[in-house]
């Protein structure tokens, strides 16, 4: 009886079992989406490629369901997942070929019993590299490729092979709080591969350096706990994966994609349906929509980050001062910010752009100004809370200057909510960017930006709807990723949830 209860508990606390369920559900949903799109109700035609995808995803989902069932059986019967079940993960790795990143991430997760943050980083680092190569490889079907394409692809493949090696080393040798000293060299090389924009490599390198060089156990434990909390939430991890994939793509696309295909007019290829050469078709000027979307990621990320960092710094500064100093300073700053807060962000942006013209720089400024008050309010609330803590009082009693208290005690301790807030608002900034571009008030029309692509697409909605569908999907995916990551960060950093 007691045994049974213990096993039940094992099932309830298992982190892998919910992920297994989540994976089969999402694979099933994806397969249904493929099925729905493979059949045209109007003409009765079947799209064989999409139907093949449906079969592949359905198979993955069914196999995943089987794994989940085995896991439940194991957990209830033995209190742990048995080796045989874990081996099934190797089979599930095949789903990587269909691009099912959910199943692949799960498979990597189940194979290894001992989960260190390094292993998770290494898995996602490798997946990112693989997807970047796959997306870049789509260029092979184009009539011509850019000059740097072969070299860049070779380098990317080399890095990917190296990443596989690192993944195996990490899985075999890195322990909970320590790593062999010799891994320091590997860590440095991993750090170097982060220049492709692969932040997972940066995280892995840093983490390996920390474990192989530092003896500060509490610091390592803190690092472990924080990342374990973030990656435990599989949606947050997926969000992070997709954001970093976008970032890597926008760095690598400089060498693997031809910018001319995205901007130069090609009147011989106007409004082509999606094909292997043009995966998302071409627009009314014959430009390749796939390349345009890939290059659009760059603008969206830059504008999104800039219009989040600028107001976070300015608003954080103002809010910090308002919260720390007297009521009068507080009143003056916050009442002035109330004025900004009373105008909806988009309207203020429209007014600013009306006054100074539509270009990327003005767009960033316009979006930044509108969100200063939100950050100021968040920061002020935190500072008000933190500056009442005892350690601030003791710093004051020791005669520390105000500036030093603010920057050494108060600011570091009120950063967590600001980070969460920023992550959650980057998504909003991405939406605002594309919305304004769609209205013709954002990025200059000749630059490939998701809102601009959609603007073109909206005029061909009836005949060539794919022009409007794909850039919209890209926007949703990126925004959704930021929102999932933000939710995950909030759950991980909120001390109340400990």
């Amino acid at each position: 009886m007691e045994e049974k209860l213990k096993n039940r508990h094992a099932l309830a606390v298992s982190r892998e079992y919910p992920q297994a369920n989540f994976t089969w559900i999402i694979s099933l949903i994806l397969s249904l989406i493929f099925l729905g799109n493979s059949f045209s109700f109007k003409t009765g035609d079947m799209n064989m490629v999409l139907f093949a995808f449906f079969i592949a995803y359905l198979t993955t989902a069914l196999f995943q369901f089987f794994i989940a069932w085995r896991m439940k059986h194991d957990l209830l019967g033995h209190g742990e997942i048995r080796k045989g079940t874990r081996r099934l993960g190797y089979v599930q790795l095949i789903s990587l070929a269909t691009g099912n990143v959910f199943a692949a991430a799960f498979a990597f997760n189940i194979i290894n019993k001992r989960k260190t943050p390094e292993y998770t980083f290494a898995v996602y680092m490798f997946l990112t590299q693989l997807f970047v190569i796959a997306i870049s490889a789509m260029n092979i079907f184009k009539p011509y490729v850019t000059d740097t394409f072969p070299v860049a692809m070779a380098v990317l493949l080399g890095i990917a092979l190296f990443h596989v090696a690192v993944l195996i080393i990490v899985a075999k040798s890195v322990k909970e709080v320590e790593a062999p000293r010799s891994l320091g060299v590997v860590a440095v090389i991993v750090l170097l591969t982060a220049v492709t924009g692969n932040i997972f490599a940066l995280l892995l390198g840093w983490s390996l350096l920390l474990k192989s060089m530092s003896n500060d156990r509490s610091r390592i434990m803190k690092w472990n706990v924080m990342w374990e909390k973030i990656t435990r939430n599989s949606m947050a991890a997926m969000g992070m994966f997709f954001i970093i994939l976008m970032l890597t793509i926008s760095v690598v696309s400089r060498f693997t994609f031809d910018y001319d295909l995205a901007v130069a007019n090609d009147y011989g290829n106007i409004l082509q349906q999606p094909s292997l050469a043009y995966p998302f078709g071409t627009d009314n000027f014959g430009r390749d929509v796939f390349s345009r979307i890939v290059f659009g990621a760059r603008i969206s990320l830059i504008v999104g980050f800039a219009s989040t960092v600028i107001p976070a710094v300015i608003g954080g500064f103002l809010g910090g001062i308002a919260g720390y100093y007297s009521t009068r300073t507080d009143n003056v700053i916050m009442r002035l910010l109330d004025i900004l807060y009373a105008i909806p962000g988009i309207l203020l942006a429209i007014a600013i752009i009306a006054a100074f013209g539509a270009n990327t720089m003005n767009l960033i400024i316009a979006l930044s100004v509108g969100s200063i008050p939100t950050y100021a309010r968040t920061m002020r609330a935190n500072v008000l809370m933190v500056s009442n803590y005892d350690f601030v009082d003791s710093a004051r009693a020791l005669g520390t200057s105000d500036m030093s208290i603010i920057f050494k005690q108060v600011v570091p301790n009120s950063m967590a909510p600001m980070i969460v807030k920023s992550t959650l608002t980057i998504g909003g900034a991405v939406i605002a960017t594309s919305s304004l571009s769609y209205l013709g008030l954002g990025v200059e029309p000749h630059i490939p930006e998701w809102g601009n692509i959609l603007r073109v697409g909206s005029t061909y909605l009836e005949s060539h709807s794919y022009l409007a569908v794909f850039p919209g999907l890209a926007i949703i995916l990126l925004v959704l990723s930021f929102n999932f990551l933000g939710d995950g960060l909030r759950d991980a950093l909120d001390p109340r949830l400990d």
Partner: protein, 471 residues
């Protein structure tokens, strides 16, 4: 009765006297009365006891001064030693003298007050004199005419609700004026020249000058700003630059469309999101909860215009169920815009409701309610949902603003002739009165909605009520 009134007046007078801003208003509203009373005060003030006493005490304390300086010097030296700071003797001496002076003053005032109360004399100030007058019914009756404004104001102040509402109103007025100044200034410093944009490149200097004169663009900044603000208050914004239509009346025609759609969206959001939030919170981490929250997050991540386009593609073009563009009077054509505009709000409210209710379910008083034997649904409906709604209503108020702003995009997609698309159409010139009017009137609407919600709270939320009474 008379006594009650004068006690109330006295209490409020004292309270208001404590804060600089209110003190100023107090004297301003009762200016005629105060002038008269002040004359009497000057005439009748016989003793200069307080000043004399101060001088006496200060003279007595002269000896202590040296002691104070020495004492502070010692303290400062020890402090410098402890923190290993290098400070010159002179510097320390100077600081010690400063501290000693401050303490001397404090001490003198304290002693003088002490002695005066011992002798049964009070410090004679104008405020005290006025307060003593308020005790006399005869004075009250006599002063009712010159002081009517001030008395009304004091009565307003004496009621915490009225005071709160008034403060909130004043704040909103300032915010609205600030919005006007801000938007006008942004448009004023614009490098674009509306005259040459409208008249074309071939316009002569005289034509441009005439255009600027007609629209008041040749006036100095402050004058133009004054005109713009006055125009907002009097609903007379002049005519737009292009097409010279009356801006105020175009806004009046377009605003109801936007507002109606926004209101329907809010209603839709509340009807859908609150039950969803409650269902999710009562079954945390279940399959239902996860699915709902997943859908809500997708709803938050969909750009309005894309959702609109996909709706048009599916429901208008492919299925031919609903009209693709909005036409006034056709209820069917309103469905898609309302859903598109309300999606983000629905998602936010559902998420907010869930987290707010989850937080409240774990409060002690809910556990008490369960312990005293209430069933789960009784506990939920009697104690939890009402309290969980409080932050949700705030979110609705705040999001309503974002919705009116975001309406511009939705209106463009469905070709609705609302205020949002009006502003967007006018911004290319830039048509200063039109943009200014549109933005400021939307900001005013948002401020009013939030004001209403805040006032509603003052009546509904017991926590705010007790806080107001304390202050």
């Amino acid at each position: 009765m008379k006594l009650g009134v004068s006690a109330l007046l006295k209490r409020t007078f004292l309270e208001a006297h404590g804060r600089a801003m209110y003190r100023f208003l107090l004297y301003l509203t009762g200016l005629p009365l105060h002038l008269l009373v002040y004359l009497f005060y000057l005439l009748k003030r016989k003793d200069r006891t307080y000043a004399a006493m101060m001088a006496e005490v200060e003279w007595e304390l002269a000896d202590d001064r040296i002691n104070y300086v020495k004492e502070y010097e010692g303290q400062l030296l020890r402090k410098a030693e402890f923190f290993e700071e290098k400070r010159s003797r002179e510097e320390i001496h100077r600081e010690a003298v400063k501290l000693a002076e401050a303490r001397l003053k404090e001490e003198a005032a304290r002693r003088a007050d002490e002695r005066l109360t011992q002798n049964g004399v009070r410090k004679e100030t104008y405020a005290a004199y006025f307060l003593s007058l308020l005790d006399r019914p005869l004075f009250l009756v006599a002063s009712i005419l010159p002081g009517i404004v001030m008395y009304c104001w004091l009565f307003l102040m004496s009621n915490p609700f009225l005071k709160y509402i008034m403060e909130r109103l004043v704040q909103s007025v300032f915010v609205i004026i600030g919005v006007g100044i801000l938007v006008f200034s942004i448009l004023y410093i614009s490098p674009f020249d509306p005259a040459s944009n409208i008249l074309g490149e071939s316009a002569t200097k005289e034509q441009i000058a005439a255009f600027n004169r007609i629209h008041g663009l040749d006036l100095p900044y402050l004058h133009q700003l004054w005109n713009a603000l006055r125009g907002i208050v009097t609903f007379d914004l002049g005519s737009s630059f292009a097409g010279s239509e009356d801006v105020a009346s175009s806004i009046k025609n377009k605003f109801p469309v936007t507002f109606t759609i926004a209101m329907f969206s809010v209603v839709m959001a509340i009807v859908i999101a609150i039950p969803v939030g409650i269902l999710s919170a009562t079954r945390p981490n279940s399959f239902l909860d996860t699915t709902f929250m997943f859908i809500a997050l997708i709803g938050l991540s969909i750009p309005n215009f894309w959702q609109g386009l996909i709706f048009i593609l599916n429901f208008s073009i492919k299925l031919n169920w609903l009209p693709a563009t909005y036409s006034p009077g056709n209820v069917w054509s309103m469905i898609m815009p309302v859903i598109v505009l309300g999606t983000g709000l629905t998602a936010s409210i559902a998420r907010m409701m869930r987290s707010s209710l989850l937080e409240i379910i774990h409060e002690d008083y809910i556990i008490t309610a369960r312990a005293k034997g209430l069933s789960k649904s009784q506990m939920l409906w009697k104690h939890a949902v009402g309290n969980a709604m409080i932050p949700v209503i705030t979110v609705i108020g705040l999001m309503f603003g974002g919705m009116l702003g975001g309406a511009a995009v939705t209106e463009k997609v469905f070709n609705i002739k609302g205020i949002g698309s009006y502003i967007v159409d006018k911004q290319f010139i830039p048509d200063i009165p039109a943009i200014m009017g549109g933005v400021v009137y939307i900001a005013i609407t948002i401020s009013l909605v939030n004001l209403l919600i805040d006032i509603l709270y003052a009546f509904l939320d017991p926590r705010i009520r007790s806080k107001m009474k304390q202050s």
